[in-house]
Symmetry: C2
Subunit: 340 residues, 2 copies
């Protein structure tokens, strides 16, 4: 590999001089400058944006910190894959690298050391929860005023930059759609309570019921963990409650698919026996039988927006002290699972 | 942010001394060592594996270089998401970071500079093709004898480490399955020819026909680009050829789903009118109507294996001069799309 040492030797200058020429730093005799550039070109030693960043003490990387969830193929979930596709597009178009790192949600993750050791210039935190360890890690990061952004999780801390979707609005519209179709007894299969986007969905569900003067009935609230398996498991309880249900609102497509498979295995006909509205509008939503009425969430755009805002701060286009606060709207996609 | 400077100031030593104590380098008076460690602890300046790597001139990152494909949400394709999940698991379990970088397949990518600038310690190349630019970039990398591995693409270069799946075997079994069901006129919707895994599928297809004494008929060979849209577009030609087809073998699930949607829109009943065998066994394979008979490819395991082999070289467990050559077996999953 051609390196600085070889260039220095052939050009008859010090390694420091090579660096100064290639990085355009400091005064330099024209003849020296030309000799170094010629030798470097001859040896195919290219100064690129990366090397230049590196010389300036920057990594050129945007960090993305994901939770480690045993046995789950994280990138294969629609949620993470779309967020990462959006982040990846922004990172690529601005010439940065995307450094993926995994955290254990049960420990306080040391975000700050990522900056100190020059591994990242900014960070995006995905899949954060209300666990105190997670909150603590992010609070420490916020205190240092380092550039970072959390996606899709609320924090009671004005220093935390957040890009989120309006899940209260999305859930409100999903439940209102069922009410408009004449449903009164609407169950709710929600995801894990440690995510604020689960509580936001609950707020929207309750508000839609309230606006239609329907009493909240906690006996038809079910809980899963956003996996297909947990949706499949919920089918037992939902099936037992079938005579008191017109419909079920489900917090993501994966759980809805598991629930549908479980109910069909018990002989249910959908949407005749039960109307279903899901959430995400993943690729699978239009493949199921019946195809899913679901709330489309702009995950790709959320990832792209968060990354662009952070990278604009890094290249000096935006002020780094600016706290990002963005909430994107969702959109109901009506298909057959909610009935005709 | 607590940094080396502050520790040095409070301990009354130079910054170089702080580094030497924290990295355990060189001789040091016990009293100085203790003072630095006390101050560092007091200021919560932790020396972690990352900082230590960094000090030794290592990045602690495994690079993964992906092709940039305009408009495609790369992480949302089953192929890339599963490979990345497997790579991610290996990287996480060994305490490394995963640096994602994007290349333009039409240019010669400068892999070597990633090592020179200490952005990565090793590299995995995904989605490589037979384009001469791609071959050139990888050949240069191989010449430098830097640790890297290509996944799922063959190269005529003994210095290139490769982890692949046996697509010839997978395709052979898929086509043989159709022949065993009595099919003789078996069309083939293949993916883009610049990928060696497409030509490998063709080899398996032709061998299965040959072993059953069925002539190869180039008029029933169709071409897509592995996208759902391209499968949908192929439906026109397949529909026009319906009277001369018993079945179609399709090179991935996405194209098969597009083809099925296109054929159903024209009024076809599957598998009655046409039997289909697909490839990948993605999540969607069991959701379609009819569910897909398909060749399961161990993408997750391929990613994990490539990353583990490279990281073992980095930590000195395996010899770095070792060329990785692994070919994993596929498995046919029989469902309804190939008929009962």
């Amino acid at each position: 590999m051609t390196n600085r040492k070889e260039v220095a030797k052939l050009a008859g200058v010090s390694e420091a001089t090579v660096s100064r020429v290639l990085n355009g730093v400091g005064p330099m005799k024209e003849s020296t400058r030309n000799r170094v550039l010629e030798v470097a070109a001859q040896l195919n030693y290219k100064l690129n944006a990366i090397a230049s960043n590196f010389a300036r003490g920057k990594s050129g990387n945007l960090g993305v910190v994901l939770p480690h969830v045993p046995k789950v193929h994280l990138f294969s979930t629609y949620y993470f894959s779309e967020l990462l596709s959006g982040i990846g597009e922004a990172v690529r178009s601005k010439g940065f690298g995307l450094l993926l790192l995994f955290r254990d949600p049960a420990s306080v993750y040391d975000y700050v050391s990522l900056y100190r050791t020059q591994r990242v210039d900014a960070c995006i935190v995905l899949g954060a929860s209300a666990f105190h360890t997670e909150q603590e890690g992010i609070s420490r990061l916020a205190e240092e005023r380092l550039p970072f952004c959390v996606i899709d999780q609320q924090f009671n801390n004005p220093l935390v930059s957040i890009v989120a979707a309006d899940h209260e609005q999305g859930s409100y519209e999903a439940v209102k759609h069922l009410i408009d179709k004449g449903c009164r007894r609407i169950g709710f299969l929600n995801g894990s309570p440690q995510y604020s986007n689960s509580s936001d969905r609950m707020l929207g569900y309750r508000k839609a019921l309230q606006d239609a003067s329907i009493d909240y009935d906690k006996t038809i609230i079910y809980e899963g963990n956003y996996s297909r398996t947990s949706g499949n498991q919920a089918a037992d309880r939902v099936y037992a409650d079938l005579d008191k249900l017109d419909a079920v609102f489900v917090s993501n497509d994966r759980m809805a698919i598991g629930l549908i498979q479980g109910l069909r295995a018990k002989g249910c006909q959908l949407p005749r026996d039960l109307r279903i509205v899901a959430y995400d509008d993943s690729d699978a939503a239009s493949l199921t039988e019946p195809p899913l009425t679901t709330v489309k969430v702009p995950f790709y755009e959320m990832g792209q927006l968060a990354a662009e805002k952070l990278l604009n701060q890094l290249v000096g286009k935006d002020d780094t002290s600016f706290i990002i606060q963005e909430k994107l709207q969702t959109e109901l996609k009506v298909r057959q699972s909610s009935g005709s």
